[in-house]
């Protein structure tokens, strides 16, 4: 079943075109990587899906809803169904791990409950469960600025999971991490996708990682989709088409 349908989406910034006529669709439960050189529009593309950035043209259908036509209130409701993970984790570093995780529930809260940060016991238990699954059971009361990079990213994942999302958008989730933490994070994302059936759309810089983990790869260059297919079909020619001259450094074998 198709969960997300992106049709002819374009985004312009003044003179430069960040995205032009992007088309692709995503089936439920798929693990998809978007690869491409820096500045190709990967980030913009991801942010257009949950309208952190408004696209200029085109149509985005998520779970049968036309995303670009939503009003503010309905947009917030939609966003609760889409988790997001960032390169720089984007946590509130002065708050505890569990408070940061519970932030994922704010979209479901009434005004007052959200302002004073009042969460139900079920929500708290769910947060504990998720943290335990991600291996952060010992860190729940630590302040987020005391954590390592990999741990911070796991808090980010926990925050998106507690939203009970249908899809998670990951914007360069391992770009600031060392190889071993990167592996942990990618394994966890893959587990989430396989076990919980949550669709994952991951921006990646590293081709090998994309090939290893994804069902499908979308290659982006200069705001256009230049490749869209199963990871095994990605040849060195297509990598060259995606990365241009940068490709030389990326192809290891």
């Amino acid at each position: 079943m198709v969960l997300l349908d992106v049709k002819n989406v374009s985004k312009r910034y003044k003179d430069t075109k960040a995205l032009s006529n992007v088309n692709f669709s995503v089936k439920e439960g798929e693990f998809i990587s978007i690869i491409g050189p820096s500045g190709a529009g990967k980030s913009t593309l991801l942010r257009c899906i949950n309208r952190m950035i408004d696209a200029n043209d085109g149509e985005i259908i998520f779970d049968g809803i036309d995303v670009l036509k939503l009003n503010k209130r309905d947009l917030r409701r939609l966003r609760t169904k889409i988790g997001m993970i960032f390169q720089h984790y984007n946590l509130v570093y002065r708050l505890s791990v569990i408070e940061n995780v519970l932030h994922g529930r704010l979209g479901y809260k009434s005004k007052i409950d959200g302002i004073i940060g009042r969460y139900s016991e079920e929500e708290k238990e769910q947060a504990l469960k998720i943290l335990e699954d991600l291996g952060l059971g010992q860190q729940i009361y630590k302040r987020c600025d005391e954590l390592s990079g990999g741990q911070k990213q796991r808090v980010g994942i926990a925050r998106s999971l507690i939203q009970n999302p249908k899809m998670i958008l990951c914007d360069e989730p391992i770009a600031s991490l060392d190889p071993s933490s990167s592996k942990v994070i990618m394994d966890q994302l893959k587990d989430i996708s396989v076990e919980k059936g949550i669709t994952c759309l991951v921006n990646l810089h590293q081709v090998e990682v994309a090939i290893k983990y994804s069902d499908r790869i979308i290659g982006v260059n200069s705001g256009q989709v230049v490749f869209d297919g199963p990871s095994r079909e990605l040849s060195s020619d297509t990598i060259y088409a995606i990365y241009g001259t940068e490709a030389g450094n990326l192809i290891v074998d």
């Binding site: 949950n50 952190m52 917030r76 409701r77 939609l78 966003r79 609760t80 889409i82 988790g83 997001m84 960032f86 720089h88 984790y89 984007n90 946590l91 509130v92 570093y93 002065r94 708050l95 932030h103 994922g104 704010l106 979209g107 479901y108 809260k109 005004k111 959200g114 302002i115 004073i116 940060g117 980010g156 925050r159 998106s160 939203q163 958008l169």
Partner: protein, 261 residues
């Protein structure tokens, strides 16, 4: 053709020196600044300070009165800063790039802050004096206006710096505006906000001395009274008590900053 960077640097340096020299001479002429007197008076003033500017025993009987005025000044500085910071926080949230509601309100709050910040405290004090006379309101409000303008800008920069990324994350979870303010913006910027408030309290104690001299209130008035009657021993006691207070507050502020930042 590319100019050699060293030649370019040298030219910039010579250009800057010429401009500064012209400005210096122009300033000396226009302000009727007596250069010789400028150099000779500094050591003379310091000698005089050593000879005269210390409290004698008889000046100490003024101490209770001075401390009373000083306490009033400190309270007014703290009060005006706290009240101003509440307003400044609201304007900063509306004005900041990260948390603005719309561009019109953002521009409005930036402009308001800029006007309040750039009208000198002297002007506020003089105008307030017309309506509020020699009451504490005059100093309180003058400090309030300038502090409000200054803190709005400082808080705006703080919010943009400290909370841009977590605001993005919470927006993506579907949290609404007010939740984002209370759960992301305030927790991440509160230490910096307190740091700015402490800085402003310190500044305001010094500013209220100035306002006091102009409007005849608070500790500034006490100083002016002794100064004009040439009771320099008592005047020095005022200076010393101000210095001690400011240093004490600075020490306390540094401790608080070390713990919270």
């Amino acid at each position: 053709m590319q100019i050699n960077p060293f030649v370019k640097k040298r030219r910039q340096f010579i250009g800057l020196t010429i401009i500064l020299t012209i400005f210096t001479f122009a300033s000396i002429i226009i302000t009727e600044y007596d250069v010789v007197k400028g150099f000779t008076s500094a050591p003379r003033a310091i000698n005089w300070m050593i000879a005269n500017l210390y409290p004698k025993e008889e000046a100490l009987k003024n101490l209770p009165r001075i401390l009373d005025k000083l306490g009033e000044t400190v309270i007014i500085s703290i009060g005006s800063t706290t009240v101003a910071s509440i307003f400044a926080l609201m304007f900063a949230i509306l004005g900041s790039k990260t948390t603005k509601v719309n561009n019109v309100l953002s521009l409005f709050s930036r402009l308001t802050a800029s006007i309040f910040r750039n009208i000198p405290i002297v002007a506020w004090a003089m105008v307030l004096l017309f309506s509020f006379g020699q009451s504490s309101f005059t100093g309180y409000l003058a400090l309030f206006f300038v502090t409000f303008g200054f803190l709005t800008r400082a808080f705006m920069e703080t919010i943009d710096e400290a909370s841009f990324s977590c605001v993005e994350a919470l927006r993506a979870t579907g949290a609404n505006y007010i939740h984002i303010i209370f759960q992301a913006v305030l927790p991440s910027s509160i230490p910096q906000i307190i740091s700015w408030m402490l800085f402003m309290i310190e500044t305001n104690i010094r500013s209220s001395t100035l306002i006091g001299i102009l409007t005849g209130t608070g500790i500034g008035f006490s100083f002016n009274l002794y100064y004009k009657s040439m009771n320099y021993n008592a005047a020095s006691l005022v200076v010393i008590s101000i210095v001690c207070t400011v240093l004490l507050i600075e020490l306390l502020s540094n401790y608080i900053r070390r713990v919270i930042l």
